[in-house]
């Protein structure tokens, strides 16, 4: 079956959807889901490149001549496991942020931060201490 470049285009659409979620959504968990979609689409891209027409899985066996490219498989296999480890780290940060701010919306966190900085500044002005 000849699909030409269709695979690459679908991967790009997926990747851009993931990127859109990351930059447009304020909810931190939504952002992480977007990042996950982005990651899977990059993996899909590598695997698409590695496919050889008429090939089979790269496990040597009598009677098969053509194998798909094993190198992208190795790279992506480890990338997935590293990906879940870093995802766990990001989720841990979200849990701690929620503990500190009581919200997981990025815009609200930024708001709370500005409010606190302003309060600190006006306090400093009242007691006449120089702001660093």
């Amino acid at each position: 079956m000849d699909v030409g470049l269709y695979n690459y285009w679908a991967v790009i659409v997926l990747m851009m959807t993931g990127l859109y979620v990351v930059i447009s959504r304020s909810n931190l968990i939504k952002k992480l889901i977007g990042l996950n979609v982005f990651q899977v689409s990059v993996i899909m891209f590598y695997i698409s490149i590695g496919k050889v027409k008429g090939g089979t899985a790269p496990i040597l066996e009598e009677g098969f001549e053509v194998y798909s490219n094993p190198v992208p498989h190795v790279l992506m296999l480890t990338a997935i496991v590293v990906g879940v480890a870093t995802l766990a780290l990001a989720l841990a940060l979200v849990v701690r942020l929620h503990g500190a701010y009581g919200t997981i919306e990025e815009d609200e966190i930024a708001e709370i931060d500005t409010r606190e900085t302003n309060a600190l500044e006006s306090n400093a002005r009242e007691i006449g201490a120089p702001m660093s």
């Binding site: 000849d2 699909v3 470049l5 269709y6 695979n7 690459y8 790009i12 659409v13 997926l14 990747m15 851009m16 993931g18 990127l19 979620v21 959504r25 304020s26 909810n27 968990i29 889901i33 979609v37 899977v40 993996i43 698409s48 490149i49 590695g50 496919k51 050889v52 027409k53 090939g55 089979t56 790269p58 496990i59 040597l60 194998y67 490219n69 094993p70 190198v71 498989h73 190795v74 992506m76 296999l77 997935i80 496991v81 590293v82 990906g83 879940v84 480890a85 995802l87 766990a88 780290l89 989720l91 841990a92 940060l93 979200v94 849990v95 701690r96 919200t103 919306e105 815009d107 609200e108």
Partner: protein, 314 residues
């Protein structure tokens, strides 16, 4: 092709959903479908990993985070943003323009297939195992795999630092004690999952599989046990201290194989010197480092899950 269209539809649904629980479940389905796609494209090892990691562990971690934080995203922030939309459309257009110079899908003469890979395919008798993915992972690119195992280890340390709460709060008994059907039903597959994980671990040289997949599958069995019987019981079997030792032990085993091969007069991670016959040496080397990878990955995944589960809502 149909599967790829499915994936696009699921992502668009994820954008629109305000209920984060549904969004996370859709992410799990997304992973499962992409695992099928990897299978179609001959990447059996990758499909294996994606199915175990994406649909299993990461979904569970995300759900636990939802339980610790909040389940809905604020509707005020869920509108169509024109700025980001313009940015992604522009980048997407540039990338699609770039694909016109790429070799067609499945083209056997693409540059990626003509360098380096023929050597891996034709001369892998010097390694002596049929699964080329394992021989590249364990032997040709052993340094990279060592690095990646270390990254997993480091990420686990980061989560330890962020989530381990020194104040011991009251324990919530979260076991599903009343649900007898679920308990019996879940108990039955657990030993089989574990045996399967061991099979994947040690048969990885000949079939699809290896340390990364086996570690994740083994961890999935323990996660299932914890979900049904509660954290307190699971922690009695898998003590925190032992898990920490295992997390480090796997990486150390990997490194030790490298050091031992240096002591025998070879290079770091040069398994040829481990036995009298180079091919046997390669066998031992790959078996040992895969075991190291498996131990670290399993211990890291279980500790991550325990850390998230132990944390109480504040």
């Amino acid at each position: 092709m149909v599967l790829l269209a499915f994936l696009v539809a699921i992502t668009w649904a994820i954008i629109q959903l305000r209920d984060l629980f549904a969004a996370v479940m859709l992410t799990g389905i997304f992973s499962l479908i992409s695992a099928c796609l990897f299978m179609v494209m001959d990447a059996v090892d990758v499909a294996f990993t994606e199915a175990a990691v994406g649909a299993g562990i990461s979904t569970i971690l995300m759900l636990r985070t939802l339980a610790l934080t909040e389940g809905r995203s604020d509707p005020r922030y869920n509108r169509l943003e024109l700025g980001p939309l313009a940015v992604v459309v522009a980048i997407g257009a540039v990338l699609i323009y770039g694909t016109f110079d790429m070799p067609r899908f499945g083209d056997p003469n693409a540059p990626i297939h003509t360098h380096m890979v023929p050597r891996f395919l034709e001369q892998s008798s010097e390694i002596g195992i049929p699964n080329i993915v394992t021989s590249i992972l364990g032997s040709y690119r052993g340094y990279d795999t060592f690095g990646e195992t270390t990254v997993v280890f480091t990420a686990a340390i980061g989560v330890f630092l962020l989530l381990s709460d020194l104040r011991r709060g009251r324990r919530v008994d979260d076991a599903l004690r009343d649900d007898i059907i679920l308990r019996i039903g879940a108990k039955a597959p657990i030993p089989f999952i574990m045996v399967f994980a061991l099979y994947v671990q040690f048969h990885g040289d000949y079939g699809p599989g290896g340390g990364f997949q086996a570690g994740v599958i083994f961890a999935a069995a323990i996660v299932l046990y914890t979900l049904v019987f509660g954290l307190a019981k699971a922690e009695k079997i898998f003590r925190r201290r032992r898990l920490e030792l295992l997390v480090a032990g796997g990486v150390l085993l990997y490194g030790a194989v490298g050091v031992v091969s240096m002591l025998f007069g070879g290079n770091f991670l040069d398994y040829n010197v481990l036995a009298h016959d180079p091919v046997h040496g390669q066998h031992y080397g790959i078996l040992l480092i895969e075991l190291g990878v498996g131990i670290t990955v399993a211990a890291v995944m279980v500790s991550l899950f325990f850390l998230f589960a132990r944390r109480q809502q504040v």
